[in-house]
């Protein structure tokens, strides 16, 4: 029986080519608009560390001036001071902990064929690498060195290794940079977490850094303070060390709790730490420590901007208009067939048979709509790549999106065609047979 419906539907669609194409295009346009905007939200809010994002926390402490706030209305700064970073990391109260900051400096390879370049560098403690599951191609990271321990070691990103060493395993080689001789201990594999949650000061979808050095190197070589720097004391002195001793914040502090460890436990530790610092005359404000896991942090930082949701809601309304449009067109399409249907009814076709046939036709139109929608979706995503160049590397039509598109299209065609189908099978044949 289904074969017969299918054949009849295809025949009908072919006979009303233009109208059918119009219906399918309308559906396709609506679906494409929704899917393009939805995929933006979907791709931007992807969990960058799916295995343990709920165990990895960003640490904030409020060391600000009394009656002032680091971030309005009354939030603590998003970075911590050198002192707090050192104290908390070396207290080792979590499974992993690392403070890190962005900096830069000249890299001057020994090979004269490789021109010197300004490297963007992340100065970080070693537990950064296991905590954020940074993939290594060669070698490995370093441990969290004890305070004041200086090692001239570095880790290269894959592209930096390509640039300086032509992509070979460079572990153990030396690399002159920042006026010193560094030993390469590791080379990363392709790594571009999206969003770049651990430090979004250059934007949520910015490239990770070219090179990594131990955090202590920043102090040793007095490297510049990259990323966000914020101070509230008016005079801290001119020395580099004075900055580190001050209440100026510049260091991103992250921790990973062990799988059994409760957040409360770490919270209590932080509370006690701030109390102890208060007794030393620091932290003039009411204690306000904030621990946010990656998901909370991304929502707090509004990685998916409100624009994206706005586009999505407008696209939903657009789809609704397309559905109303398709519904009225389908009603027209079926109404034009009233005579034929009346004849079939008179010859003994049941209401159910007519309904099934109309629904088959609707679903075929939905499939056609899905096809058009997919093509438009791909074109649209190309356009989006052009509009959001920073984000373009992450844009692709993945399998779930593809399935949702097809599903949505068929569902909406049924939604649009249901009432017209019911109307058509309810009609009294006698009137049309005169």
């Amino acid at each position: 029986m289904f074969d017969y419906y299918l054949k009849l539907s295809l025949k009908n669609i072919y006979r009303q080519k233009n109208l059918s194409l119009l219906i399918a295009t309308t559906l396709g346009l609506g679906i494409a608009a929704c899917m393009i905007t939805y995929s933006l939200i979907h791709l931007m809010s992807k969990d960058p560390l799916p295995n343990k994002s709920q165990r990895v926390y960003h640490v904030q402490l409020d060391n600000w001036k009394l009656n002032f706030s680091a971030i309005p209305p009354d939030l603590p700064p998003e970075e911590v001071t050198w002192r707090d970073a050192m104290n908390i990391v070396h207290a080792k109260q979590a499974k992993f902990q690392a403070a890190h900051a962005i900096t830069w400096g000249m890299v001057t390879p020994e090979d004269k064929n490789v021109p010197p370049f300004l490297g963007v560098i992340r100065a970080t403690q070693g537990e950064f690498f296991p905590m954020f599951e940074v993939p290594f191609l060669y070698g490995q990271g370093w441990q969290n060195y004890p305070a004041n321990h200086v090692e001239y070691v570095t880790i290269l990103s894959k592209s930096t290794n390509q640039r300086v060493f032509g992509g070979v395993n460079s572990v153990g080689q030396t690399l002159p940079m920042l006026g010193q001789l560094f030993t390469v201990v590791g080379v990363l594999d392709e790594w571009h977490p999206s969003p770049k949650y651990f430090d979004m000061s250059f934007g949520a979808f910015y490239q990770p850094e070219d090179l990594y050095v131990p955090l202590q190197i920043k102090l040793e070589l007095e490297l510049p303070h990259g990323g966000h720097t914020n101070c509230w004391e008016s005079d801290i002195g001119d020395e580099y060390q004075a900055f580190l001793n001050s209440e100026c914040v510049n260091f991103n502090l992250w921790i990973e709790l062990a799988s059994g460890q409760s957040k409360q436990q770490f919270d209590n530790f932080l509370q006690a730490y701030v109390e102890q610092q208060k007794s030393l005359g620091r932290f003039p404000k009411v204690t306000n420590n904030i621990l946010m896991d990656i998901k909370q942090w991304l929502i707090h930082k509004e990685v998916v901007s409100s624009d994206m949701y706005l586009f999505f809601y407008l696209a939903l309304l657009f789809l609704l208009v397309c559905l109303f449009n398709a519904a009225s067109l389908m009603s027209t399409k079926f109404a034009a067939k009233n005579n034929e249907i009346a004849l079939r009814r008179a010859l003994g076709a049941t209401q159910q048979a007519i309904f099934s046939q109309c629904l088959t036709e609707t679903i075929i139109l939905g499939c056609l709509g899905a096809l058009i929608g997919l093509v438009l979706c791909m074109l649209g995503l190309e356009g989006i790549k052009y509009l959001y160049p920073n984000f373009s590397t992450f844009i692709s039509l993945d399998m779930p999106l593809l399935l949702i598109t097809v599903g949505m299209s068929i569902l909406s065609s049924i939604f649009a065609g249901l009432i017209p189908s019911i109307k058509v099978c309810m009609l009294a044949p006698a009137v049309y047979l005169k």
Partner: protein
């Protein structure tokens, strides 16, 4: 008969039979309901969409105070041990300022759209508990005003002797500053800007300095506090291994000068490299990328929606023309003229659109209330609803035009044909 005719031409409206028209519209309840809802939603989306677009355009068109179309920046990074940032910078700038196509050049890490700078708190009375005005700081020498293309509206420019050459750690404060007119008004609550010249202000509660000049406008390089018009210029040049030059060219000379300067600087000193050569307009486009994207996406949605709605209206009207072929023939045979048929279709369309507009206005306001509550958008001015209403009516009439013309030309002879 002739008097009757003239009455008809004077009042064609009187011949429109509303009652049968409405009852025929009601007979196709479902299709009509779909059409009215379409028009209503279209109205709601168009009015809100266009409003958001206009707001983004306003941001894009905001003046920064500098000569944007003729300015570019580049970075010079020294990498050898005996590279001297100060002499390199002085030689470069002296040479650049002599080039015939360059109006002026200055070394600065910050400029409008550069995205980073320090913000300082300014106050008119010393002490830590005073009201402060935040201002983004620029560090420029005496060429800064001309290189940026600022207009000095009160006081004077810095003199060369006032400019402090400093390394990064040296934080000695200069004795004089130039502020923007907005800072002057905020600090002293006066419109008489000349009276502000010579007054003492305090920076970050500690350093006193004297206002030497006021520029009309200079936007902050970035705006974390919603005070983009607040800037302060210090007569300082900070030397680092990596320094940034801002270069203003004569009109129409931007592209050729960029190439010349890049080539010259690369040859003149081999101990550094030239990077990040970009015109201000390119940087501006990157900074405002999300707004440009939003405008594009919204316009695409609004126009696609308009097309879909027009196709829907035209589709139903065409169907009606086909379905009423015989009826129209009969009406024509009974004495209705072409105008009557045309006005029948247009009136039907106007009735549909009016129903849609009625619901659409409510939806537009509802959508706006949602957006205000959810994303802090401003309230939708009624003018945008009016514009959208007008658009929807025009759209309806345009979409009905072709089917209505076809109906108008149905010959009265159709009445005699049997279906």
């Amino acid at each position: 008969m002739s008097s009757n005719q003239s009455q008809q031409t004077r009042l064609p409206f009187i011949r429109i039979a509303f009652r049968p028209m409405i009852s025929s519209l009601l007979r196709q309840k479902y299709a009509m309901a779909m059409l009215v809802l379409q028009i209503a939603l279209t109205l709601a989306v168009i009015s809100n969409g266009l409003f958001i677009v206009s707001q983004r355009l306003e941001i894009l068109q905001r003046e920064s105070g500098i000569d944007e179309p003729h300015t570019f920046v580049l970075t010079s990074s020294g990498f050898t041990e005996n590279f001297n940032p100060q002499t390199s910078m002085q030689t470069d700038l002296a040479e650049l300022r002599q080039m015939p196509n360059i109006i002026n050049a200055v070394a600065t890490y910050s400029f409008p759209y550069s995205g980073s700078s320090d913000w300082d708190d300014l106050q008119t009375v010393a002490g830590s508990d005073q009201n402060t005005v935040p201002a983004a700081s620029y560090k420029l020498d005496e060429h800064g005003i001309e290189a940026l293309g600022l207009s000095l509206i009160a006081g004077e420019n810095f003199s060369p002797s006032e400019v402090l050459w400093q390394t990064e750690s040296n934080k000695t404060f200069p004795n004089v500053v130039i502020i923007t007119s907005n800072v002057a008004r905020n600090l002293f609550s006066t419109l008489d800007l000349a009276s502000v010249i010579g007054k003492t202000i305090f920076i970050n509660a500690a350093h006193s300095t004297v206002v030497k000049g006021i520029v009309n406008q200079l936007q902050a390089p970035w705006d974390p506090v919603g005070q983009i018009e607040n800037s302060i210029i210090y007569p300082r040049v900070v030397t680092r291994n990596s320094s940034r030059y801002l270069i203003r060219t004569k009109p129409l000379m931007l592209q050729s000068t960029i190439a010349d300067v890049e080539q010259y600087l690369e040859m003149s000193n081999q101990q550094r490299m030239i990077r990040k050569v970009q015109s201000i307009e390119t940087i501006k486009k990157q900074i405002y990328g999300p707004d440009i994207a939003a405008i594009t996406i919204l316009l695409v949605v609004v126009s696609a929606l308009t097309i879909i709605a027009a196709m829907g209206i035209a589709g139903i009207a065409s169907f009606n023309v086909i379905k009423r072929h015989k009826q129209i023939g009969i009406r024509r045979a009974l004495g209705a003229n072409k105008m009557d048929i045309l006005s029948q279709f247009f009136t039907e369309n106007i009735i549909q659109t009016s129903c849609g507009v009625f619901i659409g206005c409510i939806l537009a306001v509802a959508l706006n209330i949602f957006l205000v509550a959810q994303y802090g958008l401003p309230k939708l001015p009624s003018s945008y609803i009016l514009i959208a209403v007008l658009c929807v009516y025009v759209l309806g009439i345009l979409a009905t035009l072709k089917p209505a013309l076809r109906a108008m030309n149905i010959s009265p002879a159709e009445a005699t044909k049997s279906q």
